[in-house]
Subunit: 337 residues, 2 copies
DNA sequence: TTGTAAGCGTTATCAG
DNA sequence: CTGATAACGCTTACAA
């Protein structure tokens, strides 16, 4: 299984390595005959340039790293898709790293990406230490997506974590809800923190109840959403509406409601995050706070390309909007308390 | 932003490149002092070996390619996760390629992977031409996953596309259904073909109706599931039960039922494919035909490692099983026809 | 145990 | 327009 090198192509075409290289990389200074001979030989032999050798010579690998916390989260699945498609359009290959909501795996992947000499990294960072700081110090272009680190100024594209939640709370209070439970994301992430802050602000602004025990701190995984729902519904004075900070926790929470025979929409209002298809299938379909994930991914790539090109793009925020569906119905039944 | 090379480390440590290299790659013939000096220098300078240069010298890149049709399909999302985690445990990085259900993109990614000199490829193939045949001829170890090409013998791990469907049809006929509509996958994939064949066999075996128009040919995407549901429900003599060949088409189909106010479970029995969380949230939760995706991913990696090691592992089939939930209830209401 | 030197496959430079 | 040659960063005989 010997590799076919440019030398083989050159010999087969009866020219030098240099000429072969020029033809294959589209250099203008080549004669038509050389071009024909080389192209024919390359095709016949099935030549593939060795990307390793090439990027050892150049300093570009035409590869970007994408560091995500969890590929199975539909939000990040969609984001991965968007980033990958956009990167492809710039001729870049995407090296995915799945940190698995785990700082050590993130560190390992940063290590590998740095070793692979990726031309840039798009990351939804966890924590702010370990290899992350090395990555930032390394000089490799970096763009943060979804999450931000306050301590570090790096161009980022993040969701607007305020408007959607304010709208949701307003929407719920307008429907008579005063006890709105919140299943929060981890406070180690900017997204988790900002959404919780917005929730608190919104409660204050609307005059809804602000008991601390209406808040459950989850970790963006389904299991914690389930635990949150159980905890909140078991309160002596339980919430009449629930708001969850991401899609997986929403799934967990809705599952618990089903288990307990609590009818969403009639017994309990529910607002989820992220507009994933499955949420429209639930009966009633879920009201959600949605962000344009595709736009986030595209923008992150565009910004990274700009950084790679020497620019320093401004950070962006992707607006969130409330999509009202059946889980937060117009008319309220009697509420106790 | 100059790269720190092994030469810098060697100089800082006061040894030769060779010694530095030996220390850094754990070669036994090194003195304790050398080891200490080199490690200290490497740490201090933040040295990262250049993977390109390394794999140009060696012939291993410690990288495998994973070629999938669609990352946003939860089935492939889970599969990607499983493969990536398993590969990681072998010290391999996974290069994802998302063909986007599109042969040209698949070809491009095969090209890139070949150029990147991946040590092996795990693929859910589309079609059987283009660069796929070049990939197979190239001698790079390949394992197919989920889908198989009859024309080519390559080790593969695929779902059992028979048992689950037979069980599902038996289950439905036992509940009185005689008109079972089927939303099939594309006949260009082995999975699509085998599942359709099993459906037909199962109908014959149970004596259910076998009208050709109970079958709709979809493409594994949500939109075609919706179209399939519309088409089948609009039949003069519509089915009383629906079976869909993957999760995305199931989502599309259930969406149509909701739109039309057709109550799943009571008006129409429904069996989906793939045991995704969201299906348990739908009311009633969906009966599904499930495969152990994690096992598929792990096994594919294990097999690929075997091929890379010179072995020729046998192909495997992952059993499918029927998980009965509320969408195929015990008691039937009156059926027309 | 250590150092020197060759070579992996490409591309860029510099003469011709 | 073409060819010889050096260089990218690393590993590994081969010598010492």
């Amino acid at each position: 299984m010997k590799q076919i090198t440019i030398k083989d192509v050159a010999e087969a075409a009866g020219v030098s390595k240099a000429t072969a290289s020029r033809v294959l990389s589209g250099h203008p200074a080549t004669s038509p005959e050389a071009r024909k001979a080389v192209e024919a030989a390359a095709g016949r032999l099935g030549f593939r340039p060795n990307a390793q050798a090439r990027s050892l010579r150049n300093t570009r690998t035409q590869t970007i790293g994408l560091l995500l916390p969890d590929v199975r989260n539909p939000f990040f699945g969609d984001l991965a898709h968007a980033v990958e498609q956009r990167a492809r359009s710039f001729g870049y290959m995407t090296l995915f790293g799945n940190a698995n909501e785990n700082v050590e795996q993130q560190d390992e992947y940063i290590d590998v990406m740095l070793s692979q000499r990726v031309d840039g990294v798009i990351a939804a960072p966890q924590g702010d230490g370990g290899n992350l700081s090395q990555l930032l110090r390394s000089g490799v272009p970096v763009v943060f997506v979804d999450r931000v680190l306050d301590s570090i100024k790096v161009p980022s594209v993040s969701p607007d974590n305020s408007t959607g939640i304010h709208d949701a709370v307003k929407h719920l209070t307008a429907r008579g809800h005063r006890r709105i439970g919140y299943i929060a994301g981890p406070q180690s992430t900017s997204t988790g923190r900002e959404r919780l802050r917005s929730y608190k602000e919104a409660l204050a602004a609307t005059g809804a109840d602000t008991d601390a025990d209406l808040i459950f701190l989850g970790d963006f995984q389904a299991a914690s959403g389930a635990e949150g729902a159980r905890t909140l519904l078991d309160l002596a004075n339980p919430p009449t509406a629930l708001l969850a900070a991401d899609s997986l926790m929403s799934i967990g929470a809705v599952g618990v409601c089903n288990e307990r025979g609590i009818a969403i929409g009639t017994d309990l209002a529910f607002v989820a995050h992220d507009d994933i298809d499955a949420f429209t299938l639930i009966n009633p379909p879920l009201t959600v706070i949605a962000h344009d994930i595709d736009a986030m991914g595209r923008l992150a790539v565009d910004m990274l390309m700009s950084v790679i090109g020497g620019g320093s793009p401004a950070s962006h925020t992707i607006p969130g909007r409330l999509i009202v569906r059946g889980s937060t119905p117009e008319f309220e039944k009697e509420r106790q308390s």
